[in-house]
Point group: C2
Chain length 235, copies 2
Amino acid sequence: MKNKAAPHITVAIDCIVFGFDGSDLKLLLVKRGFNPEMNKWSLMGGFVNEDESVDDASTRILNKLTGLHGVYLEQLHTFGAVKRDTTERTISIAYFALIDIAKYKQQLSHDYHAEWFPIKNVPSLIFDHDAMVEEAKKRLQYKAALHPIVFELLPEKFTLPQIQSMYDAIYEVNFDKRNFSRKLLSTGLLIKLNEKDKAGSKKGAFYYMLDKEKYNENLYKIFSLIITPDHLQFL
Amino acid sequence: MKNKAAPHITVAIDCIVFGFDGSDLKLLLVKRGFNPEMNKWSLMGGFVNEDESVDDASTRILNKLTGLHGVYLEQLHTFGAVKRDTTERTISIAYFALIDIAKYKQQLSHDYHAEWFPIKNVPSLIFDHDAMVEEAKKRLQYKAALHPIVFELLPEKFTLPQIQSMYDAIYEVNFDKRNFSRKLLSTGLLIKLNEKDKAGSKKGAFYYMLDKEKYNENLYKIFSLIITPDHLQFL
DNA sequence: GCAAAAGTGTTTCAGTTACACCCATGA
DNA sequence: TCATGGGTGTAACTGAAACACTTTTGC
């Protein structure tokens, strides 16, 4: 029962940072600069201080890596196997973040040897970080099926082909572009701009932007946009 | 960065235990037997030991309260505000459990002054336990919409009216019984028995049981049984 | 003029909802 | 015999899926 002996344990944060660059979904990793497991790839992590909440700790640690403020960050799961960290008993609270890679690029933090890896081609990571990434991918699928959080991954202006390739990457499928665009536009969340992105094709694709007001109205609502049961298997 | 100073923090577990008794959804609470907040209602909690995983700790703590083994238990969220515990900086990993009240009754643990409260009528709890319960209710709605975990709440034999009142309680609505039973039976997960429960009515309601094989086959599958978007709002 | 990607409509089908009456029984 | 809860069927509608051709333009 409580207030008997209360063991004290090291509590860490690890951040799974997803990014989208307009065509690929990527994961941000850092090269570990100290032992053990020096020079292996890992998630960005740090310890929870005694005078900060765990949410504050995750924000602080993510900011240290990316320099960004206001990033979408959500607690994922707490990993607490006894020997998950080989040096000392540590439990880790994993958070996942969604960011627009372009926004971040200017301030890429060389201090941490941070690098983006395509989600389909992530190296193996230290400790139980692989499991954290797997869990985060599932959560992203889960969450994005019901909530419009994916806009966190996009720049202010984006094209329909871009947003579709993002969904395709998240769910590892290819949606039918006719059904996809109809369904997406029917949410009324998008505003079509009079401007085209000519980078991806000769014809060019119209830019859209999020209708922020409607977005905020609908944030609490279900966004049953995409998913057929198959894509949610194993969640 | 890691392996600088690593503060050590007290790590607790709190269990949100949902139970169903055939007509009502309930929450199991204990009366706190020590200060501070002595005699107030709280979730069942305890500390994580240095030599056990957090999952093991949650199982141990739940077992201490209920005497039960093999209870459905799932990690919910880690609560880590600095002053959430008034005595000492403590982070708490909340777990939620689903149990069949009848199964548990025999071994009700008087040691902890444990008591079932109807979910609609839960007293206010210590620390941030109210928030934990709210979070758990949402998670249960979320999860039960897509996974057949609710059978964890039911005895081996149950009637359609019973299972429906469970869903009604979870989602705080009243489903149409014709649509409900059709949809439920169409999953093929239920076996109708040649036996009636005469407790609830004069006519009596047929017992059903879970087809365990199909259940296990389908555990990984989506169980898109019930939910219309409205019920998932705010998740 | 052709290659490459963008954009658009219709039909079919399945699943969901709404809805009302009869049945069995104990008191 | 009547009050109570259990059990069942149909019609209308809505949303999802499948599917192929035309448009634009840089080369």
